[in-house]
Assembly symmetry: C2
Homo-oligomer: 759 residues x 2
């Protein structure tokens, strides 16, 4: 029974608060409120895990005046602990300090209580913790002939008495060791107890003589290109070490579909790739363990995310079904298996947890991004885009969630671009084009200065200027569009060749020379632009399908697009019959699936103009999150100028870094997040883009920069676009100018003006 006269205690960062009678230990108050406070020793004052700090001051909003002396005076336990271990000033042991007045209590994270150095804090976000593994110290009764309970059974009795852990399962490897460990510890042992789901029995996975005060876990994002691994303390939550490595499966196939093909063609393909990825992960485990100077045996939990094909290959599952309709996953729900079954050498009784997959093309990585960004925890409508060879798209808010994948192809990663390359030193990553002179300046990975700044040449000599990476491609094309070099339809304006030596003829089309030296030319070809158009149109069409579905009840019919008038040019077959769009899309699918067919593009036609059809009012997207490596480097403004993503307040559009890894880490450090994402994934409506009749219509409209139909009012407020009004709408005169592949002064000038205003 608490009363209004009892002290008020607020715990940060959770913000949970309550009144407790004077004399209540702080840890007890925290637990009453559901605030997780680590403790290994169970209040004996020896593990130091339950440290807190008092935030002193007047917290008007909470009507709390908090002071350090609103806690009880230092106890003998705290004095004893401080004499043996680092105990920073202001810290208290919450098992010992009792509430004597109003308090604001901070729970420090990333505390180092032992010699392991906290090297990094890759993810500084603070979230509540409740790991699936706990270390529980117990003092066990000695054997008694009159009550002949076994040694293990007396440990269990102590666990139940002190920790309320009942009837655990015991790992078989512990049985032969119980007696020696108990006697070595003088009847004091620490139990590593695994309990992930509340509907299962706790598991005694490790037993240690005396007090064991550290346990670790790893969170791993298995990308098709890169594997990233973080080592965290399960007790403090601190990230201790991180490591990454290329996915060795690349040697079997650069992208996902070529790896599936490899499995289909080679009987040993699946085992080879499974062995390769597991070995690479094991090498990373050993790398972080060495860096943190810990034993791999002390890594007691692990969480993995990856796209469905990575997920299946890691689990030893043949991914062939994922390469063909209906794209059936072997398993979509979360998977928990012994880590040893995955050939991982960690603690021998460690279990691996894999987040659920959302659909055949939307994997556990997308689930992890969703967990990390939490659209399901927000009122704002959020669009999450993870761009890779496949784009994975999640859209929604607290009340509704949708997901899809779209086959964007590898253009965004610099592949299939004539001068494209992976993001590596020497790659052009930033580009600006002067709208008057059409001269570029650029920035190269590994070089601090821009290309027009003094010292660039010398600085660049070391790394060279070797190509254009994904973010560079986006920027150069967007700048070409803004400078009028490229039309809305993605055609390089050959008429400009007269004005600038940068525009050159290349067969039947034109190219833009971005960088030229005696022995090297980096150009943007018409086919490069077309590759980006195909990729971004696929991405945008997928997003648009989700937005359509989000906006309207499924019952409302959407009329088919009507083709717009398109003027024929003199020497180029510029008509794109709407019936051709499916062929384009099919070619894109085919190119991805087997690299068998090349997209049937050569000279680009202008795009047809679908009528805006009468659907429900388009939804407003409040926030756009760009995930993944590509999302980390792309400038949101350029992504929007080219129409990769829909219109949105640019201030609310940004990279979220390796959100998949962050989500994996959340699931590692708090088992409640596992339940949260499992429940959330079952709520996500999946849209198979390939099956949607509107996909092709959206695809065609999205071939244009930024889009043939959709308004970009938020973007145009800060970035005027060619052929767009200040409100971002498509200018009414567009049909008059459409269909001309050559320069259109007015349109170019509009772009130039826009560029000037921006500068």
């Amino acid at each position: 029974m608490t009363t209004g006269a009892d002290p008020l205690v607020l715990f940060m960062p959770s913000g949970r608060r309550g009144r407790f009678p004077r004399g209540t230990p702080v840890i007890e108050a925290a637990r009453t409120l559901g605030v997780y406070v680590e403790s290994v020793c169970g209040g004996r004052g020896i593990c130091g895990r339950c440290q807190i700090e008092v935030a002193e001051g007047v917290f008007a909003k909470h009507k709390i005046i908090s002071a350090a002396d609103h806690l009880s005076a230092w106890s003998a336990k705290e004095a004893r602990y401080a004499a043996k271990r680092p105990f920073p000033p202001g810290r208290r042991l919450s098992c010992s300090a009792t509430i004597e007045g109003d308090l604001v209590v901070d729970l420090p994270t990333g505390m180092a209580v032992n010699s392991a150095v906290v090297r990094k804090a890759v993810d500084t976000r603070d979230f509540p913790r409740d790991p699936a593994i706990r270390l529980l110290y117990v003092e066990v009764a000695e054997p008694d002939m009159h009550a002949p309970l076994g040694d293990l059974d007396r440990i269990f009795a102590a666990l139940e008495r002190d920790w309320d852990v009942a009837a655990p399962i015991v790992d078989p490897a512990i049985l032969p060791e119980v007696q020696a460990i108990l006697r070595r510890g003088g009847w004091r042992v620490t139990c590593a107890i695994a309990l992930d789901r509340d509907d299962e029995r706790p598991r005694l996975m490790g037993l240690y003589p005396g007090l064991k005060n550290e346990a670790y876990g790893i969170a791993v994002d298995i990308g098709s290109t890169t594997i990233a691994l973080h080592l965290s303390s399960l007790l403090s939550g601190a990230t201790i070490a991180s490591a990454g490595a290329p996915n060795p499966q690349i040697r079997f196939g650069e992208d996902l579909m070529s790896r599936v093909s490899y499995v289909m063609m080679n009987p040993q393909g699946r085992p080879q790739m499974t062995v390769a990825v597991r070995a690479a992960i094991q090498a990373l485990i050993e790398e972080v363990a060495a860096e943190a100077r810990i034993a791999t045996d002390d890594i007691m939990d692990c969480v993995f995310v990856g796209n469905p094909i990575m997920h299946h290959l890691f689990l030893g599952i043949d991914p062939t079904e994922l390469g063909q309709a209906p794209f059936a996953l072997a398993v979509s729900g979360a998977v928990a298996v012994p880590a040893s079954d995955l050939d991982l050498t960690l603690h021998p009784a460690a279990r691996a947890y894999l987040l659920p997959c959302i659909a055949g093309h939307v994997g556990a990585d997308a689930a992890a991004v969703t967990l990390s960004e939490g659209p399901h925890r927000q009122d704002e409508t959020m669009l999450i885009v993870d761009v890779g060879t496949n784009a994975e798209i999640v859209l929604g808010n607290r009340s509704r969630l949708l997901a899809a994948s779209s086959p964007t192809g590898p253009a965004f990663e610099g592949a299939e671009i004539s001068s494209g390359q992976r993001a590596a030193p020497g790659a052009i990553e930033r580009v600006r084009i002067d709208p008057h002179t059409l001269e570029p300046r650029f920035k190269v990975i590994g070089v601090e200065t821009w290309s027009h700044e003094p010292g660039f040449a010398e600085a660049a000599r070391a790394v060279g200027v070797t190509g254009i990476c994904g973010s560079g491609i986006i920027e150069v094309i967007a700048e070409m569009f803004l400078a009028g070099i490229v039309t809305e339809d993605g055609v390089i304006d050959g008429a400009l060749a007269a004005r600038s030596p940068r525009i050159v003829r290349e067969g039947r089309t034109f190219a833009y020379v971005l960088h030229e030296t005696a022995d090297q030319t980096i150009r943007v070809l018409q086919t490069d632009i077309r590759a980006i158009q195909l990729g971004k149109a696929a991405l945008y069409a997928g997003i648009k399908l989700l937005m359509d579905r989000f906006a309207v009840p499924p019952a409302l019919a959407v009329p088919a697009p009507t083709s717009a008038p398109a003027a024929a040019s003199d020497d180029l077959p510029l008509d794109l019959d709407p019936a051709e769009a499916p062929a384009l899309a099919d070619a894109l699918f085919a190119a991805q699936a087997g690299r068998a067919a090349e997209p049937a593009i050569s000279p680009p036609p202008p795009l047809p103009v679908p009528e805006t059809t009468a659907t429900a009012a388009p939804i407003r997207i409040d926030r756009i999150a760009l995930a993944g490596a590509f999302g980390s480097f792309i400038e949101p403004r350029y992504a929007m100028i080219l129409g990769l993503v829909p219109d949105c307040d640019l201030a609310k559009c940004g990279s979220i870094g390796n959100a998949a890894g962050a989500g994996a880490r959340m699931a590692l450090l708090n088992r409640a997040y596992r339940r949260e994402i499992e429940a959330t994934v079952t709520r996500i409506a999946k849209i198979e883009t390939a099956l949607e009749p509107d996909f092709q219509r959206h695809f065609v409209a999205a071939m244009a920069f930024p889009n043939k139909l959709d308004a970009y009012p938020e973007l145009c407020r800060v970035q005027p676009l060619p052929n767009r009004g200040a409100d971002g709408s498509v200018l009414a005169n567009r049909p008059d100018t459409a269909g001309s592949p050559v320069g259109d002064g007015r349109r170019r000038r509009a772009g130039s003006r826009a560029r000037e205003r921006q500068a």
Copy 2:
């Protein structure tokens, strides 16, 4: 809602009954009443597992007139099943037949629904079944891009829909196989679901295309001498095959304590013995699988029992702690571990279940015997004795249970007896002695006729007459006692040497010649009798301690024994000072523990006569069960004449065969029995005989035949004893005759008269 007008249905053998509306399927009624009816196909009429029979007739006690036509008419499902599979007349499928009137329903056991032949019925007892493994057939939805649940997840959905099995754990080995199995089965699969405890998650341990209609389990009793294994169908409960083999650990030490010594002396001793016992069990598994013509993969569950040292060695636990006080078990509770961790090749995801141990010397075998005999399910007070090198003793009834072990030594197994041998062809197993002539007749294992019958000599020539086995030793000594050759105190009466050539001098004592040929003499020496006295006194003292504890509140003090007058003889030191009893007991312990010391016996002294002390009235034992191999061969009457066990109605004293194996089989076929014995063991009060001050007093009294103090009224009703009244009480004149090592005519005659009356 059922009413009094609804038909009344009684299920046998469970006896559960209830009223159900007409039209209720019989299987549904059974389940409502908690009667376990097997079904694999979930009522599709294809597995045939839910067969029932109607018991027709008037069941007056139950007020039921039962008739076959009180079930619905044959269904199409039943006709279809009968066309494909054996379906004996009178059988019905309970998933199809509905209740249309009052019924008595029999659940047949041991049904063969497939080709596997039921070879044996080792245990014909009928008990309810509810195995931890079930085969559940499901029809699974095909993959759907619009609802992209994984293949496994759709299996789970079907399991939940059809069988109410939610959120199973999946065995990792299944993941890579799910898709191929589902497609091979045409989206119909059978799931092997393991669920032992209700507080854990079900486990998908196997997945099979189409209908799988058989699963097996093994129950194994790991004796220190013999390993016995039974293979049962988990679906029908039938025992399919049985096999046994010597425990190969014998080569490391004949008895338990010598095996512990071997471990203590040899660093490789523990692993050697663990490997040996596991390999022997694996060989038996392969033997029964071959006999039953099944794959070892189809053995999905296994239950093991054994004494604590066998239990520990099988689990790979060093048993050293069990060789010394306080005899701490590493684990006393039930253990469940993957069978593969025990190096057993069964179904790869099979778990092994080991029954709990009761105490450091009272193992999982005693728990299994308790489960099988069920003293905790009875109002009668039952004594269970499992005699081996250690005797394990359980005493109690529904309200209270006690257990102890007593170090009887190996005499009862024929070891440490001059002509002793294991029970094998050629061993004397039955003996009768004519009280007038003192001539014996006997029966030999492997020979049908008695030694005095025509044809014995020829018949015995094949096997020989090689020694005396455990039951033979008991009988010959008991007959010697009845014939007056041996006194109550266990002394061979040398005076009789004058009367019969069968009594011969052997050093300072006498011997009885049981069998003599030209080249062979089988004699019973004074030391043989002394060995049996020591063993049976230890056994009885243990029993007596339990009876004391059972009879009186622990607080009641028991006075120390007073020594009785003992007359000295001329040339033999016949006094046994009460202070010598502990030394005797200690020697016995030592002999067992290390074979280091021989019991310090040579000429036997007469026994002191402890006063009957004023304790609570001795308890009445309603039933005595003799377990184990020895218990199977011993004649209860002779066990009682020698005082191995207390007085009891002989009709309620008998062998229970391999009750440990029977208990293991119960735990295999019904997981509820696992919970029952786990709960029961926690209720059993354990008495460490070595620590009880009264042990020595009881031991000394129990050196006499049958006992110095205790009355045997039930025995004496059918078997008069020397020096006992017809009411079984010790004759008041005994002190007058005690102390004389030589013949006492009156006493001998009393024995003779008794023998005559009996004959």
